[in-house]
Point group: D3
């Protein structure tokens, strides 16, 4: 059940049977020569929507722009500064708790969001902890790739070439979601270098085509489909536990 | 050309032939008993994407949550406070200008965004005006319903019942975009009351089912399709003038 | 009744018979070769004070500096960034509601304030809408030139040369208020160019002497007096309706 | 020379002969049973304007609302929070330096502004000190009562009953400026209690009618006139030294 | 009793017998050729801890970095901007009031903190004054050198050469606290120049080795010890009065 | 070499041989019945100072208050909200880069700081990435317990009872640092429960005495000494690599 495709009365009815909601959060940033700039938003969005259908869970609109300062040396990348993203997430959550939602499940598609999103959670919890509000909310952050099934499929196909950015797994999943957008590019070297990074220039100097440690030329919509089903299975379990009060 | 479905090299190539970009911006808020909560994001998004195709214009990811404080008494509505939305839009624009985009065209779907978005533009311009940056950028705000063709179709079908929120026009366009989400609801009274509003409680007291001055029971995907084509025609013209340096 | 010229006991007494207050808000910015930099603050101030006398309405201190980023290429112009103006207006309003004022009527003299002031209203309302406060307040924004009487006088004298910045009407009203400050300047061209603008440099390039679409050489204290009386009539009616709970 | 009553060309001409400017800053807060709420804005404003005339110094628009949180238990008092006032003063100063002003002289009328205004100065200087900007500016804060001549007149008339808030001196000066607003009230006790204070409730508990240590029943327009001339003499000297590069 | 060396149960027990706490606040900034960069944090810290022991007062962790923008032209100086320091102090205080502390006594070691710290107090009080919170707190700011005993010892040893920055008194006290860090440096001129300052470059131009008006070559651990005992006596008295509800 | 115990000339000399600096960062929060509230600040501080001695590395003043919202239901815990901590760290780093430091090594003692500190790094990097500044800086975050030697000692003594908050390892290290502050308390149950947590009330409900998964009754100054030496070895290696340009 997508919030964007529902009426307010449908949400009102939903709130009588559930008070949890899924919020996909991604990023808008380069994903190497054959990866889509929207990869990190696309992946959690398609998984969240499927989970929403299967679990009768409400799915909010995707936060498509995240914390991507390190990708800004590649055209098309967009970032919110951490302080801005914290403000956004805070307003988003405060609006939902106003209606009675008390369990917000962020399904994340971008490693670079994790620190800032956890900081945002602390900012939100701090209001309660400092005694400014009586409202209580449970917040969870799960990456779509966190579960065992995804890891299994990923290892089966991409062992040794998964890397950590512009991975064949996420590229595959985005190809499955948007087969019309499959790209081909010759990658040189086949497996990108690995390592840390700091600001945007530093990132580009170390990873000239944007990939980190990965060979996304191995990506395909077919593996994407397997990953999609694996992720939906993983996330359904995780979300169900969360909605039931766990975590 | 959608930013989210492009690679960074494709954006790099785009920047050699154009430096303008379209950014759809909407809202997540109640749209009466048969309107979708995502109406205001859906409408500019579908129009923007079509314009992008026809005009070879890049379309950035939709800002789906806008300024909707007045709708918060209806479940499912989400707002960013104006100060938060100003910060978001500023970061979004600053990221784009970093790459060489110098003309950002916001295609808006929500009247409640207009004031804050214009304030955000002034906040961004102020950096240049105060001498803090050498970068220059042109910003435009167009509502998808601003053009003459849309007004003609709208008047033809909905004269006297268009109203100003949850209008049959926007509901029709969203139905055209998502025919699977067409809703039916009995509206009482047929045409909603009109007037101003202040905060969320005040809004709900005045407009108990969320509509203002409209009869969206008249909405249909068929009229939505006509409106879609009209909006694309209107916006293409407007965008072309903007990209060419006008406005 | 001016707040600045009252004692706190007089305000206490006022609050027993009324809970509305008028706040003039203007700007400090160039107004062309013969217009005063304070025009936009002067005009609503003199109108507000007269309305205050006639209607036994309390008038707060004028907010003299507004949102004027686009005028910064002309010496003497001062701006608050929108985010700063939002914070100012929020504190101003929150202070007043603390005392029991629940209806704040901003009488505005600067078109450039409108978007930011409306954003500020939404920022203030959002506190209530998100459930952060129990306090309720009604906010109104009226421009001194909004009413029918002003428009009539303006049209009678300045049809076709009113323009939109450094208008003969506002210059006349400021001359009426400060006859000792009447300026003369030769204007070339007689009627300034019209159009949009963005940041300060862009504005100055398009409108080299600061005027937009106007011929303020036609301004005079005599017409200013007629405009003054017209504005007082217009605003009295509007304020009375607001104070009575309307709007 | 008042900025508000000048044209931009007059300011342009001024900047060729001087780069200093006077900014009156006050507060909007209770001043006891017979003092005006605007006292702290009125006093520096009238002194600044006279100094401006005598010294050919430009005088900017008065900042009428300052830091007055401690007065909020008395109706009519308005405060900016310190963080808001810092933002306002920063924008005000940054706008002026944009035009070439490099010496801003704040003539203050409210003790409660001093700490925050000094913090604002440090906030502004920090931009230069951290290396964010090449612009340099000199900032000064003078209270209208700082000079020897004012102190002499004050001591002559009000020795022992001057106190520190709602003083007979400031009330006298405001009466001189607005003789039509002279108030009479019986004060009990004649001389108000003295001491420190914290928040608004604490202040009102300690100082039930708003005065601190003063007997403003002694105030008169006649002494106000003497104080006015004394303050103008004091401030002229001080301003001249500042404008010449001193301090 | 140091907070950092206590358990939460010990604090819980403390709160049953007292609700006041001492917070040392200093700065990290150059103190001339023979003064320690940490002088302003060290001095209030050692005094506060001794007072804590003698008075059974809880002492919180030292705020070591303060407002020191004017020292940034000397290597090693660190500043918080005033707005940042206000946020820090606000969070620190709000955390303490959450536990039931209602009297926070800041023992300060840096003149440059005073304005910003007082602004922070007003920011905190404003929450109560505007009616945002029911919590009440008393805040005090005392400099370790404020008392009569310190002044006597200081005058006895350093009359005429105390100056206002990198004073022999503070250097002596820091030497007493850290005898292993005693420095020697030849000072030229013996007594540094005096005067005001603005930003960091201006400061360094006027005071090339960092000192203002002082001859800290006269500093010694022995005088430091006398100052330490004097300060402890002074502050004990002052703190006791504050904790008892005075001030 | 401690910044607080150095003169500015010593720092100037240091900058000729090195441009890296170590900044200890901790927290002020409950550490169970026998752990010190300052544990998380004490541990990195003592390790950092020893590393500083051995490596001729400058060590800045400890940031003693971190992000500890979840501990606020236990008396004595103090938090900065994430947004405040981001501002603090940004100012701290910007001050240091002003002097020529280009490699800041945060030695952390609190798991709860990690997300916010990484968000702060991104906030700082974003300035460069967005093109606002030419300055470049390398930032590192290392926990004192990250290295292999610490893990070995920890496992040797506390396998199975280390837990994740109020661990015997950190308690031991703090006891070694402050033997006079060793506490004894009977712990019930011996090993605390494990799990996640959200806001302060939630934390206390799950972990009634503050510990998570640990048995700190096993802590001792003797093991603390071993851990100290292990941590110094680990961190020396790590810091040396960082200072040399690695990471």
């Amino acid at each position: 059940m997508q919030l964007q495709l529902s009426t307010w009365q449908e949400v009102e009815a939903y709130l009588e049977r559930a008070t949890a909601i899924i919020v996909p959060i991604g990023s808008t940033e380069q994903h190497g020569p054959n990866g889509l700039i929207g990869t990190d938003a696309i992946c959690p969005e398609v998984v969240a929507r499927a989970v929403g259908e299967e679990e009768d869970a409400l799915v909010g609109p995707t936060i498509s722009v995240g914390m991507a300062q390190h990708h800004l040396a590649f055209p098309g990348s967009i970032t919110l500064r951490p302080s801005t993203l914290i403000a956004c997430v805070s307003d988003y959550v405060e609006s939902l708790t106003r209606h009675g939602f008390d369990a917000i499940y962020f399904l994340n598609g971008h490693g670079g969001n994790i620190a800032t999103l956890n900081a945002a959670f602390s900012e939100i919890y701090a209001h309660a902890s400092l005694g400014r509000t009586e409202r209580r909310v449970r917040l969870a952050l799960t990456n779509w790739w966190d579960g065992g099934d995804v890891r299994r499929v990923s290892n089966e196909h991409f062992a040794g070439v998964e890397g950590s950015h512009a991975t064949p797994s996420e590229v595959s999943l985005s190809y499955f979601a948007y087969p019309e957008a499959v790209k081909s590019a010759s990658l040189e070297p086949r497996v990108a270098p690995s390592g840390r990074f700091r600001d945007a220039e530093d990132y580009r100097r170390r990873f000239p085509d944007g990939r980190i440690g990965s060979d996304p030329s191995r990506a395909s919509p077919e593996v994407g489909e397997r990953l999609f089903h694996a992720a939906v299975r993983d996330v359904r379990k995780d979300y169900r536990a969360f909605a039931a009060g766990g975590r």
